[in-house]
Symmetry: C2
Subunit: 675 residues, 2 copies
C-alpha cells in the first residue's frame, strides 16, 4: 500500500542550467511530433506525455514515480495561450487485461486522482530557426499551458506487460507500454560488484594507451592491458531518450537505474516543469541494495568532484547535474518521502567547497553532519592511507575536481595556488596532497570489505579526467589518467585475489560515452618546431602509414607510466570535433591545456598562448561546432565493456546502456525481492 | 624434401610505388635502430635482418620463404659505401637444442647455402629531416650495400620454438625466435567459413548506420543490426610490423596468412630489394585449403576492383599492391616454384581493364585463358543472375572499382560515361549494369555450395567502398555501402538456414582497419544554407547533446535503406583527420565527393566546387595531414569482429589481426596436416 504524493519536497534551488557541456537556458528544445524529434523524452503524442516513456523496463518491486503531462498550446503565437486541459483520466492494464484507474490498480490509500498541477513554459529553439517543427511557425516562443498529475513511489509487483493510458478531450488518448521483467536468479551469485568507468573513453583511447605503455616486437605487443584478459568484451550503446549523444549524467544514470534519460538528469526522467527536484524518479541500484541487501557496503569513488555527474548518479535524484550543493546534501539526507538516503559506506572525491562555507546548501556544515552520521572524514592522501577503521569513510581531497595524474605526479607545482585545500583554508600543502584513483580505490576496497563482510559490496570507481582532458584536447593528460585506471584495475584484481574475493566479484570496466578520438599516425616534434614558420610545411611533421612508425615513449622504471611524457615522436591523435585551436601535440607544462578562448564577442577562437598548440608551432584547426562551444563534444559511438567473474556472460555482445543495470542486479541477485 | 630457390621468377614489372594511400617513392623509410623505428619490418639489429621477423608464428607444414639481409653502410655519406658483407652463416635450433646449418636442418637437397644476392639501395626519409635516425646525420641519402640469402618454400614440421641466427663479422650475430604452434582440432568443425570485411569500418560507423536505419522509441531501438546477435563480439588490433597504422594490403594479408606485414605488401614480408616479386612469401589460407582440403571451394568477392588489396590478399604474393596486372595474372598462374595457383572457384569484382587490352600483363587476354581453365565469365548483373552452372565463375563488372550503392541505385546516371564497360567497349549500358555486394555474395554462395559440396567452402566478401568513401569524406556513400553489407549478412544467414548450412558455417564480420570516424550531433541542412554567408553563424547548424535529436531518415518501403538520402536533419559526422575541405554534410549528386583538389603547387586545398561542402555552405576544415595528402588517412583503433557458428569462441576478446588466420584455420580443421 503506497501513499500517492502529489508533490515532492523542493530543496530550494534556482533552476540554473539543464545542460552539461552545452548551452545553458531555461527553455527546453522542442521538435516535430510528426518527425524524428520529440518535445521531451517520451512525448511522441502532440499533447500528452507519460513519464516514464513508452518501452520502459522495470524490475518487480523497484520504485518509480509516474507523471502525466498534457500540453495546451497554439502554434499561432498571435493567439492567446489556450486554457490548460482540465479533464483527463489515467488508466492502466496488465497483460492486455481490463483497464483500471491507476489509483485502484496500485491500491493507493487515496483512491482519488492526485490534484492537478499547472505550470506554463515556452518551447523554443535556443538557436533561432534550427530544426523544423510545429513550434517553428514563427520566431516567437510558443507558450504551453501544462496540466499534470504525478503518482509517486509506485512499484509493479509482478512481471508482465503494463499499458498506461491517458484519455484527454473527447477522442484523444495516448498509451505507453512497460515491461516488468521476470526476476533472474544468477547462475552463480556475485558477492561483490565493481563498476569501473573511464569517463568519455572510446576504443581509440584503449589502442592509444596500449601503444604508449606496452613494448612490442615487429608490431606484436609483449603484453596486453590488464583488463584485456577479462572473461568478456562487449559493447554498450549510449544514445539517450531524446538525443543521439549523451552526457555523463544521463548515461551514468542509465547504468545506475536501468533507464535512459535526458541530458543532465540523474535518477529521474525529465519533465517540463521548472524545478529540477520534482521530476519523476526511478530507483537507483544503490537504493535497491539498501532495501534488499541492507548489509552490503556501497562505495563511490571518483577523481572528479564527488557531486559530478557520474558519481552522483549512484546516490542522487535531480533533473540538473549542476545542483551541486543539493547533490552533496543528498549523500546523507536523500530525497524526502522516497527511500532512505544511500549514504555510501565510502565516498571519495573532490568537491570540498560544498561541504561547508558559503557554497554549501544553506551554509550547512556537512562535515559535522557526516560525523554525527558515523562518518570518518579524511582530506588528504596521508590521512586516507592512515585510515584503517570500520566506520564509514568520506574523503574530499580538493575543491572541484582532483588534479590530473600528470599534474599530481609530473608537475606538482600545478596543484598549488588553486584554492584547492579541501578545508577551504587555502593551505597549499594540504590541497596538493591528493590521492590518485589507485589510492582511493584500494582504500575503498579495504573499507568496503570490512563493512560488507559476508554480504559483500558494490563499488563504482571513475577515472573522470579521461573525459575532462579529452574535452580540453589535452591528450597526454587523458592518456595518463587512463593509464592510472588501467593500473588501478590491475591492482584491484591483485587485491581481490589476495583477499580471496576474486572468484566472487563481478568486475566491469566501461565508459559512459565516447569522444571522437583516434590516432592517425605519429608526429615529429622537432620537425614541427623547426618548420613552424610555414603553415604548409609543418604539416609534414605528421607521419602516416609506413611513415607512422611508433612513438618513442619508454618505461624504464616499470611503474606503468612513460618516464618521459615529451619524447620527440608522439601520437598524431585528435578528435573529430572541437573549437578553433592550434595543434602541435605538445605537453602543456603549466596545467591542463586551454585550446580555445573566448574573444570579445564570446566566440571561442584558438588560444595563441596554448602551450600545447602555440600558433608558432601548431597546425590551425578550424572548429566544427557552434562558435559558442569552448571544448570538444561527446560522440555517439558504442563504448567497450570488459567483464570478469560471476555474471560476466551478460556483457558479451552489444547491449544498451540501461541494460547494464539489469546485468549487475542479476549478478548480485538483487532482482528477486524478499519483501 | 624441398628445393631451395635462390631467386623467384620476376614478372617484369617496374617498381612503381610501395605506398597505398600515402606518398609514392622508391625509397623506403628508415629509422633509428636504437629507437622505436626499425628500418624494415623486423630489423632491430643495425646490420642484420631475418625475415620473417622475430616472434613470427607458424602452423606446422605451412610454407614460408626465409630471407637474411646484411646491410653495410657508413652514415658519414662523404665516405664511400663499404664493401658488402661476404661471409655470414645462418643456423637454426629447435627448443633450445643444437644449432644446425639451415640447409641441413630443413634437409634441403642442396646442402650448400644459396648464392649470395647483392643489391644497393638508399635509405632516406622522403620528408627531409623527419624522424631522428642514424641516417639523418646529413641531408644525403645513405647508400646501403646489401648481401642476402633466401631459402624458399620451407616448412616447419613440428610444433616448438625455433631460433634462427645469422653470424656476421667476427663477433656479430642476430637471432630471432619463431613459434610453431600445436595444431588444434576444433571442438566442432566448421564446414564453411565466410569472412565479411567492411573495409575501413570502425565502431562509429556501426553506431551511425544503426541510427540511420533502425527505428527507435525514446532512444531504444526496435531492432539491432543483423550481425549484432552473432554468438561473439571481439576486437582486432590492426597495427603492422613497422607502423601504428596499417593499410588494407597488410591488414588483409594478416587475416589471410597469420602474419602482419608492411604497407602495401600482400602475402609477403617486405625485404629491401627493388623487385616487388622476390620478397619472402608466407602461405595463404587459400593455398593451405588447396593443399589440405583440395575439394573445398574458394570464393573472393569485392565491390572494389578484384585486384585491390583486400581481395588480392586471398590469392596473391606481391610486395606492391599496385602491381595490378601481375595480380590478375596470379589468379590462374600463381607464383612459379611455390604452390599451385589459388584459382578461386568464384571471383567477382571490378578491375576489368587488366583482363585484356593494353593494361593487361603483356597484353594477354586473360578472359580466354580463364575459359581454357574452366571458368565461365560474366560481365553484368543480368548474366550473373542467370548463371546457375557448376563451373568456376569469374565476374568482372566494371573497369576499376564498382560504383557505390548510392550511384548504382539513386543516381544511375553517375554510372554512365565513365568507360566502365567491363568488355572495354565503352558500352554505357553494359558498364552500368553492375551487381551489388548482395547480388554477388548470394551468387557466390550458390556456386560455392555446388562446387564444394560436402567439403564446404571459404568465402571472403568485401564492402570496399566503406573505406573508399570514408577516404573521400563522402559519408552518405560510406553509410549506404555499409548498409548494403548489413543486408548482405542478413541475407547470407537466411540463405545458410534455407540451405541447411547455417549450423556448419563460421561467419565473421570485421574490418581491416579504421578511420577516425564518429558522429557528434546532428546538422540542420536548411539552417546551414540559410546562414551560409556567415562563417560563424552557420556553425550553429550543428546540434549537440540535447540539441542533437535524431536524424530524419525514414524507410517506408522497407528495403533497409533510407528512402530519402537528403533529409533536413542528418548526422553531424566527421573523421579526425583529412585535407583542407569544406563540410556541409550535403549529398553529392554527381558522383562521389571530391573534397580536396591540388593547386598549382600540388598542395591539396578545399574544393570550392565540392557539392557536398561547397564553400558557400560549408564549414571550413583545415587539414591536419601533410599538404600532399588528398584524402583522409586510416587510424589505429581496434576494429570489431562479430563471429557466429562453430569456432566463433575464438573471437570473443581482443586479438591481434594475424590471429584471425589461426581462428579460421582452427575452425575449418586446416591446422592438422594430413601430409
Amino acid at each position: 500500500m503506497l501513499l500517492p504524493l502529489t508533490s515532492n519536497i523542493i530543496i530550494g534551488c534556482l533552476f540554473t542550467t539543464l545542460v552539461a557541456a552545452g548551452k545553458p537556458g531555461k527553455y527546453k528544445r522542442v521538435s516535430d511530433p510528426e518527425g524524428q524529434f520529440y518535445r521531451l523524452g517520451g512525448c511522441p503524442d502532440p499533447h500528452a506525455c507519460i513519464i516514464p516513456p513508452d518501452l520502459s523496463t522495470f524490475l518487480p518491486g523497484a520504485l518509480l514515480d509516474l507523471r502525466v503531462e498534457l500540453h495546451a498550446y497554439d502554434t499561432n503565437t498571435s493567439n492567446p495561450v489556450p486554457e490548460p486541459y482540465k479533464n483527463f483520466k489515467t488508466t492502466i492494464r496488465k497483460d492486455n487485461g481490463k483497464w483500471i484507474d491507476i489509483e485502484k490498480f496500485f491500491e493507493l490509500e487515496d483512491s482519488s486522482p492526485p490534484a492537478i498541477e499547472h505550470w506554463n513554459f515556452s518551447w523554443v529553439n535556443t538557436i533561432d530557426v534550427k530544426y523544423a517543427d510545429v513550434f517553428d511557425t514563427s520566431d516567437k516562443p510558443v507558450d504551453v499551458a501544462v496540466s499534470s498529475r504525478i503518482w509517486r513511489k509506485l512499484k509493479f509487483d509482478k512481471p508482465g506487460t503494463y499499458d498506461v493510458s491517458v484519455q484527454y478531450g473527447p477522442k484523444n488518448a495516448y498509451t505507453v507500454r512497460y515491461t516488468v521483467v521476470k526476476p533472474k536468479k544468477p547462475k552463480k551469485k556475485a558477492k561483490n560488484a565493481i563498476l569501473f568507468i573511464a569517463d568519455g573513453c572510446n576504443v581509440g583511447m584503449i589502442a592509444a594507451v596500449r601503444a604508449i605503455t606496452k613494448k612490442h616486437t615487429s608490431g606484436k605487443y609483449h603484453e596486453m592491458l590488464s583488463f584485456e584478459d577479462f572473461d568478456q568484451l562487449g559493447h554498450v550503446m549510449t544514445q539517450s531518450v531524446d538525443s543521439l549523444v549523451t552526457d555523463s549524467a544521463n548515461s551514468a544514470s542509465a547504468y545506475s537505474t536501468g533507464h535512459k534519460s535526458s541530458s543532465a538528469a540523474l535518477g529521474v526522467y525529465a519533465d517540463s516543469s521548472e524545478s529540477p527536484f520534482d521530476d519523476p524518479k526511478v530507483e537507483l541500484i544503490t537504493e535497491l541494495i539498501r532495501r534488499r541487501q541492507p548489509k552490503k557496503a556501497i562505495g563511490v569513488v571518483s577523481t572528479a568532484a564527488g557531486h559530478d555527474a557520474t558519481p552522483a548518479a549512484f546516490y542522487v535524484h535531480t533533473r540538473d547535474r549542476d545542483t551541486s550543493a543539493e547533490i552533496i546534501d543528498q549523500i546523507i539526507n536523500g530525497v524526502q518521502n522516497w527511500t532512505d538516503p544511500v549514504a555510501p559506506d565510502v565516498w571519495l572525491g573532490g568537491g570540498a567547497q560544498y561541504f561547508q562555507g558559503e557554497e554549501s546548501l544553506n551554509g550547512q556544515n556537512y562535515l559535522e553532519e557526516l560525523k554525527k552520521n558515523g562518518y570518518q572524514i579524511v582530506m588528504n592522501k596521508k590521512e586516507l592511507k592512515k585510515y584503517h577503521g570500520n566506520d564509514k569513510l568520506l574523503g574530499t581531497f580538493r575543491t572541484s575536481h582532483l588534479d590530473t595524474w600528470i599534474d599530481r605526479n609530473m608537475f606538482v607545482n600545478n596543484t598549488i595556488g588553486n584554492g584547492a585545500a579541501p578545508d577551504l583554508s587555502g593551505n597549499d600543502a594540504l590541497g596538493s596532497d591528493q590521492p590518485g584513483l589507485t589510492d582511493m580505490t584500494l582504500k575503498a576496497l579495504e573499507v568496503l570489505k570490512k563493512r560488507g563482510g559476508d554480504n559483500g559490496f558494490f563499488l563504482m570507481a571513475e577515472a573522470a579526467s579521461v573525459d575532462k582532458q579529452l574535452h580540453g584536447l589535452d591528450f597526454p593528460r587523458a592518456f595518463a589518467d587512463l593509464i592510472e585506471m588501467e593500473i588501478t584495475i590491475k591492482k584491484t584484481v591483485e587485491w581481490l585475489k589476495k583477499n580471496d574475493e576474486y572468484e566472487d566479484t563481478l568486475i566491469l570496466f566501461t565508459a559512459d560515452h565516447a569522444h571522437g578520438f583516434d590516432v592517425y599516425g605519429s608526429v615529429d616534434q622537432s620537425y614541427i618546431t623547426k618548420h613552424a614558420s610555414s603553415d604548409d610545411r609543418k604539416r609534414s611533421a605528421v607521419g602516416l602509414y609506413q611513415d607512422s612508425g611508433w612513438p618513442s615513449y619508454d618505461d624504464k622504471d616499470g611503474d606503468g607510466f612513460p618516464d618521459d611524457w615529451t619524447p620527440n615522436i608522439v601520437l598524431a591523435a585528435g578528435t573529430n570535433n572541437g573549437p578553433d585551436h592550434f595543434e602541435a601535440w605538445k605537453l602543456a607544462h603549466n596545467g591542463p591545456r586551454k585550446a580555445a578562448v573566448a574573444n570579445d564577442h564570446d566566440i571561442y577562437i584558438g588560444n595563441v598562448e596554448d602551450p600545447a598548440g602555440h600558433y608558432g608551432d601548431g597546425i590551425k584547426w578550424n572548429g566544427n561546432l557552434p562558435v559558442t562551444e569552448s571544448v570538444d563534444s561527446h560522440t555517439m559511438t558504442d563504448v567497450f565493456i570488459y567483464a570478469n567473474g560471476p555474471g560476466s556472460d551478460f556483457f558479451r555482445k552489444t547491449i544498451d546502456n540501461w541494460q547494464v543495470f539489469f546485468g549487475i542486479t542479476e549478478a548480485l541477485d538483487l532482482q528477486r525481492s524478499r519483501e
